[in-house]
Symmetry: C2
Amino acid sequence: MADIAEPEDAASDHDYALSNEVVSAVHLSVATGDQERLRDLLDPLHAADIADLLEQVPTGERREILLLAPDVVDGEVLSDLDESLREEVIAFLPQEALDEAVRELDSDDVVDLIEDLEAPQQEALLDALEDADRAAVEQALSYPEFSAGRMMQREVVTAPEHWNVGDTIDFLRAHDDLPEQFYHIVLVDPRHRPSGYVTLGKLMGSRRDVALADLLEPSFRTIPIAQDEGEVAYAFNQYHLISAPVVDDSGRLVGVITIDDAMAVLDEEHEEDILRLAGVGEGRLSDSWLDTTKRRFPWLAVNLVTAILASLVIAQFDAAIAQIVALAVLMPIVASMGGNAGTQSLTVAVRAIATKDLTGENVWRVIRREALVGLANGLIFAVVMGIVGVVWFGLPMLGVVIGVAMVVNLVVAGLAGIGIPVVHERLGVDPALASGAFVTTVTDVVGFFAFLGLAEVILL
Amino acid sequence: MADIAEPEDAASDHDYALSNEVVSAVHLSVATGDQERLRDLLDPLHAADIADLLEQVPTGERREILLLAPDVVDGEVLSDLDESLREEVIAFLPQEALDEAVRELDSDDVVDLIEDLEAPQQEALLDALEDADRAAVEQALSYPEFSAGRMMQREVVTAPEHWNVGDTIDFLRAHDDLPEQFYHIVLVDPRHRPSGYVTLGKLMGSRRDVALADLLEPSFRTIPIAQDEGEVAYAFNQYHLISAPVVDDSGRLVGVITIDDAMAVLDEEHEEDILRLAGVGEGRLSDSWLDTTKRRFPWLAVNLVTAILASLVIAQFDAAIAQIVALAVLMPIVASMGGNAGTQSLTVAVRAIATKDLTGENVWRVIRREALVGLANGLIFAVVMGIVGVVWFGLPMLGVVIGVAMVVNLVVAGLAGIGIPVVHERLGVDPALASGAFVTTVTDVVGFFAFLGLAEVILL
């Protein structure tokens, strides 16, 4: 790749990340205040890499970079910058640099940039726009957050349904304000309702007298303007869409969403799922320790409550534990195995719900499967732990107790792992959000209760 | 949307999933053997939805559907079908249906379809292809699995560097075998090395005498053929690519990767991360209970070993527990809080490594932050648990013990949660794969040791 790479490739290492050499050189040039060297280093970088660099350096150095080279932060860098840092960077940029940065962006990127800012900053950025652009952005901001209306760009290339290839090509050639990127010509009826689309490739490869109506792509699909952005991303991935027209309530064309925006949303949705499953909420790597502490605290607090619940169960059996300390030694194993098996089922369920693979159709079959899996693995680990119990403590009945408790808890774990997210989803709560704490509570409580309860009945 | 929807939209409900009504109607038509009704139901469905339907019904019904309507399974349905079911469906389809299905696919889709099949099935499908297509597929299969070579399609539209818009349009119009989907004209030098690309939109909107060289897109970037598919997907997402030429070791153009394939890989990579973090490996919803049990067993076995390690720690303090049973009641709380806090740090770290946001540059800062977060949350929960300990058991020093143990374990959890995946990554092991078990082991062992050890020193 090296010998044919564009200049901007020179700075990125083999796996596309910002290279350590560049970062070190940036440190040096900031430390020595070498403005010229800093610019030479940043200029060839892709906007996304400059954004990454700004995210990775400490706050103080970030400010020095912005002081030394404010003009490297163009609109694209601001777009690519993590939301949590945008406010800081925007507040620190000179107004002229900011105005210039915003003016060069497409309307959908401006929307993405300013929708999370505080009102005064929003106002300042809107002021930088020309009137038409400002109206477009304000219109987009009037649609619900996380909706198709916020994702779409308003610039769409359309053609009347009766046109042929020649009409369309002449029209395109006569226009010099075509959008930067477009892939389809959208056919619209006289009331501006889209009825199909034709790819540019097909258009170029066809004779001038061919009707557009004969070149329609079967993948055509419209998106309602209020559709949730996650659903839009799902549709792009499921139906292999490249672009899709967005329509208002009366079916009129109002914009278009392209696959690059859908891919970015898919990535964000995944991030949300994985972080929520772990109880991290919306944490960013560049957050301060104080923000991070605040963000993680509620999840740990919930966990504390569930852990205390489990302890209350243990406390019911303090007499048994006082007599046979082996119970205290072994009980965390039952709970831990249940917690793990529950997390396995839970994660499969959350992912399957996200991809719409877990439905009313197969949910009972999957629940039955999870119970069987719990039973099968439970039986295997029951035998293993039964033997460990006997060998370690020389108490055959202790082996039986831990074995039975293991089977019970793994079956319950399988059922809870699938049942709890399914119920959450039916109730309209994000299954990734709260299911983990519930599942662990169930497996802890059931694990301790089954093990200690059986022990009290059988061993005492 | 309803009034302008294409026929295929009629069958999908508002959020694009297969609707329950259609699934119920399919059940009925299969149960009554009503071939005609089944075809009427399946015909308007998108291939991806037919694939989902086949995944969701039980094995027996899947076979009946294939018997009643074998021709609904075209190439696209096979492509969209989950890998775990492809073999079963392929084995069950009549050879003619199979041949037809494979012949209509692009070479990259055929590669995707057959790369995971057993050799005899692979051979049968290859036999269905024409010689040229077969050669293309076999060539692709010679590249490493999960590489750019497997993802790319070989059909690329190229133009010599010196051409202008008119030359290119004439060339395109003279060709009737253009690829189904293409977005860029790739400029190549006389040795067929790509040097830039021009979008079809720019081409259409420019005068015939404009040189292609004046219309180049700044986003241009080539992909080495051996590049890992995850890195390719990352590059598309990071640099907002729509398509990228693939080059061999000598820099010659060998194919092109488009964003729809990159989006599919991004989705798979995410699925892998989330499932690996939960210790589920590659489980699919349509796997049998036996396969699922086998797949989850190793992870549970690893967890058992770590749980036993933790129990060995507890066993060292059996005398203390026998004297103060409250220790047994409270000890799981310390371990559980540590496990949760560790999982929080771990998940943030795994995600940040995947997005290349955690680098040598900021790793020490993030480690310091995680330690501080652990300290801060540890102090808060130390106070809470200290009070709980005193109130519950009336032992002030027990409150001190659990408080100190909590602080120690939450700091260790933060450090382990970030340190363990970072070390894994440096060693070339997927951080999502094994980190979870290590982190829990550390938090369990440290939690029990700190709490029980302190109790022995202070309370006895």
